[in-house]
Point group: D3
Chain length 284, copies 6
């Protein structure tokens, strides 16, 4: 970049109010979609998170799954079945899911952060009894929903200066392993950790009046308006669970929840450090 | 068991000197072999470890791999190749290994401890930069050996009252993932953590003068005698790397290292809480 | 004992739920009667208490007087007078009582614990202003009842890893020294320290329907039933003050109070570590 | 500034290595010259310092005097006398100096930082016995040099999250008040506080081969070369005490000392956050 | 003094109840008047304060201005104007006031305490944002009244063993500097710091029934009686703001406020360490 | 006392340098002789000690036995036997000694301090394993000498604000109880606690050139001169063990040891708070 040093200094100075306002605050980031697949985007997200850490914020990462689970299932000759977009999860599928989420994706994120000079700790809901789940729906098998959260371990990890990287898996009261929707985990944790912000990294520009027209992104939605947007069909399909998590987080005390476009480099920084904002913000 | 309460009380009283002597001491346990496969033995090991925790010791678990890695490789149509008993590990094999070790076996141990009412945290060398590795031998690919250990995270986990469960994986200086022999990790950690004891759970009765005669177990070996036992062919094959780890641990300040028979229920308790001892003890 | 190591391991494993449930909990033990006179029983009690300490409980000992006071009075040519079983205590008797309780019995207990490798601290209500008393009844002279408890010193002693050994003596507001019933001290301290359990070591099998028939021990009494047992004459004589202390302790939040038979070796362990229970338990 | 958000994000990301490398490090800034007089420059310096604080550094400010002292002396009808550029300081001059330095300039800096939302604490060497001085030269009167530094108070101020603002005044062993050269104070403190960097804000572009040609700034000088530069006349006059302070700081363990041009906005940021560097750097 | 050692010992012993009762208690001292001008009285006050510190109290000093402000104004050819006894304060006057209060008087007190071997820290309301003020009255210009107090910095100073010396200056919400009446600051701080005592050092014997007859000092006034004393004209003129501060302090929880005669050596000690009391005490 | 308040204030001010110099310092006081028998002297000593505590010193009391032991032995029809002035101590005598020292004298001191509003804790060498002893001489039976000191418990007691009151009793490695000379305990503890001063309260005016002439007290003895004083017969008899303890303490780093006359009221204060000193001071 050919910016003069002086312009660079100005950019830094302009970031000061944002740094101040997030000082010592927790920001929960749901990391998923293309930003987890494309190598360049991946590094862009990790760098954003490391910058957040160094300027005094406490980023907490919850990652989703991506296509790796389905890939491994295929290789193992196992067919994926879905009901209403949710994967039917039998014991073997759960085992594959856990291996991929915790044994592969979580590892990649922890490694990538480590390679950038910050220490990360990967955990799932099983570690330190961080969260407990119950079955969502008998038909879906081992798909769970969170029943109980214990933030002790995450707070210890933050206090010691590490970045927590969380896989959306937990056990149930009978010792079963449940797979949980990562958006749901992120929303709930944001509320439980008194986060200032929840950021969902997605593959869309935000909530759009017209799905085919990126210029129709709605920049702000109050939680009171959500129902109407759903009734009007503007929020639909896979966006519904996302907006619900935002709703739960904001209800639970999080100031702002954001649905941003992870296909754009440094989208987290753009959201946090500039006035312009990107994507859709959900507030009270 | 039909023991009278009075006899039970006597057993507890007899355990007192052992409890005293291990109070607040760290014991590193290499968990592997049948004790990790057989359901009943598995529960017996976990209960032993939980008892250790509750009576004031700090158990640290390092687990090995077992047949699951080879199984998954087979299912994925990948052939395992070995040189001198060590698995040749290309990038794809490493990925499979990490998914199985950290995404499956580590999870099972953490879950099982949790189900018994104690909180465990699963980590590999990647979390918190706990250990760094380098390539052992170019032919073997991503088989590593430990270069550097940072015990901060493990000590934090212990201080907070959790049990650390460690997968023998680490990254190298170029960001590669290395698989490391679990015995080697256990031996090195025992030394670095100033453990009082290292326990290797194996599928043999100990070091035997005659491999076919369980009554010839050598109950104690001083580290000065190891070379002779190797020269005499009494220690050979897969036992050589195990004895080397014991040697390194004892050299590094660990009081005693034990090679015990994990096929016997409660073998850890027998080792720690009774005079009789089991298997082979290596001392200075 | 000729138990196999394996059976021993089983006993330890069976004790685990009890150890868990008392982890970091305070247990107040009123130590008196034969268990304080018979050398063998004495060592049995002390060993039980040390085991409790090492497996993570916080035992607090309150001791009574026994025959030593009367013995020394006799040797000094002083006649003991009793009203309703309580010793009339003039200034000289109080001096003798304090010398025997704090200068002899307390010392023996502290020494005996020390000889078993645990550090104990002997205190009376005078040390650190731990408790203040007032006269119970003018006729009885310097027999006191507790007015006020300050648990700071006892908590400091516990926090530093010592076992507190408490003599039932306190001063009054005029600087007088009062002798207090040890059961009363134990019951009150159990409540003030939020103890989980109060154990009164006595010379009877418990509360019995027929005093002459050991097989009629009542294993559990709810505090609401106490009045009826007294009215029926089943609880009478010296048992009345004991049951009152249990009542006060349980009212004050202690989960369970026990009247156990100190003439049986390891009676404390039997009570704490086995399902069978011994003596009479008083609950809410 | 019309930079695109994306370019802004890039600037932030580019600053990351600098932020990392100064994390939790102390930087001593000698604040003086035009940057203390010109309103716009003043705000630019303060903003730079606040940014440093928020991104995790510990800035420590030592301020000089500027023309205010001479102004007040004039108003009070007192003539300033100089020997070799140093002000001859009698008791009355010292009183005026202290009023201006601590009662005016220090106040302005503390206020200005406070107005930007960070808490500052103004101290001189007298507060908390932070430093003691002795007379430099009898002819100069109450001009002192530092004898002893006690960093307790400054460290307390930093630990509590405040920014220390230090006036270069101290008392002597007889209770006299001494005025000390601010560069000297900054250099000595940098060494005593184990600062990573010392920055002297001046009214020149740095050390120049030709004083009249700004393009001849020497970007780096090793402390071993200083003598030669002085002998060659390149470092002369008022620059000599400055270079000496840099020398002392670097000798005392400070990694780098910088003589920068305070007439340029955000000169501190340019120095810390960009590769380009400005002014002259003195290293070991 | 020719007292026998024995009499001295008795004096110390007699002081014990006073020392006990002020142990670890905060005492706010408004230091002003002759006691700040006369050299001998000055040392007497400082010694009293140091003695208080060493015997376990926490003295907090708030100083007033005295004639130095007017003197410097005169020298600078600036005329002082007063309305109802309060100085009209324009920006230039404020600058002079701050230089004198914080740059001269505060320094003298800090130095004098330091010379007696105790470390003091001088602050004004600006340091650490200790207090914020607003304009009292537009006519008076920059005369302020306290709006908000933050005791963090003062508590830190006390905790670290230093004595805080406070100049009655603060900024307003627009960044203006305000001069505040020192009595008002002392009274407010006494309440905010939960001080046990507030001592106003004045140049009168106390509140007197007849201003010209020192024997008519009223030794105690309850806050309920103040109105009547004002209505009766016994409290009037400059004493009214002083009694108001005492009223505010006592209302705010301070046990006793005292108006004492600073012209008498060791008046603070006489007040604190003897039964006799001096001056007028205001209580609830 | 008819001193004017002003004279009282002067006495307090004169005490300031002494208070400063002993701030936070430990002073070990061997309490014995008439000062422990005469009621008035007893209260005078306790008040001195309480004053020391409140003005910031850490007094540690070691008490001796006095005539009470012999009295109780007589009453019990037991004859006291002495060899070279030391009591031959059989098991029964030891039991009597412990009851009197710890069960009576220690209690009286703790009570008396408590009645003056300060909390004391009575301990002997047995509590917290504070010191261990061995037999001094087989002929003397259970007379011990200190082998090992553990200051943890005493330091805990001091840190928590209590005054430790120590009985000179300890156990040996076989569990025997030993009686130890109180001077010896005081001297050793003074060294182990890094005390600034050791004060032995005796029934003589100090070390006198002529035992019959109180005006011949030697005010200062250097430890190098002790031998000569013994050779010359000036130090003899019961003074020899006392001077040896002083020697050991001073050798062990205690600044000054004092042999003072406890028959004079407030002798401790006179020693600590006045220039005049009393008795004999032993220094390096």
């Amino acid at each position: 970049m050919n910016l003069s040093p002086c312009k660079k200094a100005n950019v830094l100075i302009e970031s000061l109010p944002y740094i101040k306002s997030f000082h010592n605050e927790t920001v929960v980031i749901k990391y998923g979609g293309n930003a987890m697949i494309n190598e360049e985007l991946k590094h862009s997200v990790i760098k954003d998170i490391i910058l957040m850490k160094f300027v005094g914020m406490n980023p907490v990462i919850v990652h989703g799954g991506g296509p790796d689970i389905t890939n491994l299932m295929k290789k193992l000759g196992k067919e994926a079945r879905f009901i209403d977009g949710l994967r039917v999860t039998d014991k073997e599928t759960m085992e594959i899911t856990e291996m991929v989420l915790f044994g592969k994706i979580n590892r990649e994120i922890v490694s990538c952060i480590g390679a950038n000079g910050v220490k990360a700790i990967g955990i799932s809901g099983k570690d330190g009894g961080t969260f407990k789940a119950k079955q969502k729906n008998a038909e879906l098998g081992l798909v769970g929903e969170i029943e109980e959260v214990n933030t002790d371990l995450i707070n210890t990890i933050i206090d010691k200066g590490y970045i927590p990287v969380i896989s959306p898996i937990a056990y149930g009261s009978e010792g079963e392993t449940f797979n949980i929707n990562a958006d749901e985990v992120a929303g709930r944790l944001a509320a439980e950790l008194n986060a200032k912000k929840l950021i969902l990294i997605t593959d869309v520009k935000g909530i759009m009046k017209d799905q085919n027209d990126g210029s129709t992104v709605i920049s702000q939605i109050k939680i009171g308006e959500i129902k109407k947007y759903i009734d009007d069909g503007i929020i639909s399909g896979g966006m519904i669970p996302k907006i619900k998590c935002c709703y739960e987080a904001v209800k639970g005390g999080v100031e702002r929840a954001h649905i941003i476009d992870g296909r754009k480099p440094h989208s987290i920084l753009l959201e946090i450090f500039t006035n312009e904002g990107i994507g859709t913000m959900i507030t009270n």
